[in-house]
Subunit: 279 residues, 2 copies
DNA sequence: ACAATAGTGTCTGTCAGACACTATGCC
DNA sequence: GGCATAGTGTCTGACAGACACTATTGT
């Protein structure tokens, strides 16, 4: 590592040959999650909420015609976060969206072209804010998730096409909660993106319980029933009304707006209220 | 992205020029955490536990003579996990140690030589297992941590040298628990490693509450008092005995061994017991 | 005897799970 | 009227925080 002796750091840097180490290609891939309304026949019923993700159809090799997460190469003068933001902007025309780094995937063969390390991100968007700004190859897929202790199954549907993946969960250590994901079935997703999606779903499921990130997927005004539906669809289980209201009561603020029009009692509209601000 | 049309993926790959994208240097940096016994004068008292981290003194520019986390470049034919394992082996001669990926740091100027993206890892070791296998420039530093809602202060000491860092915590979003760390004071740590250390401490503090990762820092046999000390030193607060014993009772197994010799009642030795195995 | 840790019993308040109940608009 | 959702009251058991107490060693 050393070699020639230098008197100062400035002198060293002037002489430094940055080509002596092998370099790698890096990309960011972003899980853009949202919740969609799915209309239900019965006029009385609320539209069903569906957890959904934005996928892009690849138009070139490798994995031509398969679906993948929006992603792209990280520029040499670009932060990882900035690369992820740039890609989000390109695909959805959205800015100032909640994003967080998920995990860095570095398997040798995850891309058949060459060694590419990918930093994955999660972005949460309110679908009402975009609708028709999508780029050409992008499409929202609803996800139906079946999960047990050993396996996750996700069914994707964009209204035209549907497919499913099956991923086995395998604890990396008995002392931790980290899983190694082994893809058992996957015909339509490119690269290792099946793993990335399953990791992202897992992270979201966890964080919904101890943070307020759900509100990034909500419109400004919403009813508690709608909010509860979103929790239920992400957690994959029904919640009891009183318990749910107890949990979120400090995170929301009643407005003077009311949502009418369903074949049932109208509902008060709420908005997000940061519980740390009131103290 | 496309260009010439190919009939198959094989054909495309044969023709693929991997040099068309700018590449980056990547490193892994590992937080090797452990808990050390610090002898106390009083013969009756238990040795005090100290949370500690392994640092390496840089012997070359940049940051010559500053301390940094053990790390190194990721090989082109090497997994991120493998790179981290290799470095752990080099520094401590340890293998089969608990490790998990922490975060990927990608600021443009984190290394003055050139653009380097660093994937950080956490490794937890039982210090009794190594003692004298350390590589030349490595040294264990105890950490005393002072944390409030806005700031973290860490005091490092390896018995010869001591220094401290101060890092400001700044929530990235009101809806989440992600912090942006701003280094306010740091004279002795190289690169952005002050941030990495603070992130790692935060992760560990969190995960100790809902996983069994502490046991990776414990010897095979330990008393509940010792285990409680480790929790206390990581969490930075005292715990009540009965509450602590309630929490860990399913995670440990009583052995027929007993630890005597302190100026007080002897203590039963326990060992880790995976709570998921008994069902 | 006493200092220090080991280990247990139990009260209390908080809170999640569960169920029952009331309220109200729209066809 | 009755369906479907909105919204509330309250019981219960689990459990964390708190404190008090007993047990046992080496010097």
């Amino acid at each position: 590592m050393s070699g020639k002796e230098y008197a100062s750091e400035e002198e060293f840097l002037k002489d430094y040959d940055s080509s002596q180490f092998e370099k790698l290609s890096m990309t960011t891939d972003t899980l853009i999650f949202s919740v969609a309304d799915e209309e239900v026949g019965n006029y009385r019923k609320l539209p069903e909420k569906k957890f959904s993700v934005l996928l892009v159809k690849r138009d070139s090799y490798p994995f031509k015609d398969k679906w993948c997460l929006p992603g792209g190469f990280v520029g040499i003068q670009e932060t990882l976060d900035d690369a992820a933001k740039r890609i989000l902007k390109t695909e959805t025309n959205l800015q100032d969206i909640y994003m967080e780094q998920l995990y860095t995937f570095g398997a040798i063969d995850r891309d058949p072209r060459m060694r590419i390390v990918s930093v994955s991100y999660i972005a949460l968007v309110d679908k009402n804010r975009l609708k028709d700004h999508l780029s050409g190859n992008a499409s929202w897929f609803t996800m139906d998730i079946l999960e047990d202790a050993k396996e996750v199954q996700v069914m994707f549907d964009n209204g035209i096409e549907n497919f499913s993946i099956t991923v086995e969960k395998c604890l990396k250590s008995p002392t931790s909660d980290r899983y190694e994901y082994i893809v058992k079935k996957n015909d339509k997703l490119a690269f290792d993106h099946a793993k990335v999606i399953v990791s992202g779903i897992s992270r979201l499921k966890n964080k919904i319980g101890y943070t307020d990130i759900v509100f990034n997927m909500m419109p400004k005004y919403f009813t508690l029933g709608e909010l509860q539906q979103v929790y239920e669809v992400i957690l994959g289980k029904k919640l009891l009304d009183p318990a749910f209201r107890r949990i979120i009561k400090d995170k929301v603020e009643k407005t003077d707006k009311i949502k009418t029009g369903g074949g049932h009692r109208p509902s008060v509209l709420y908005q997000y209220h940061n519980p740390n601000h009131e103290k």
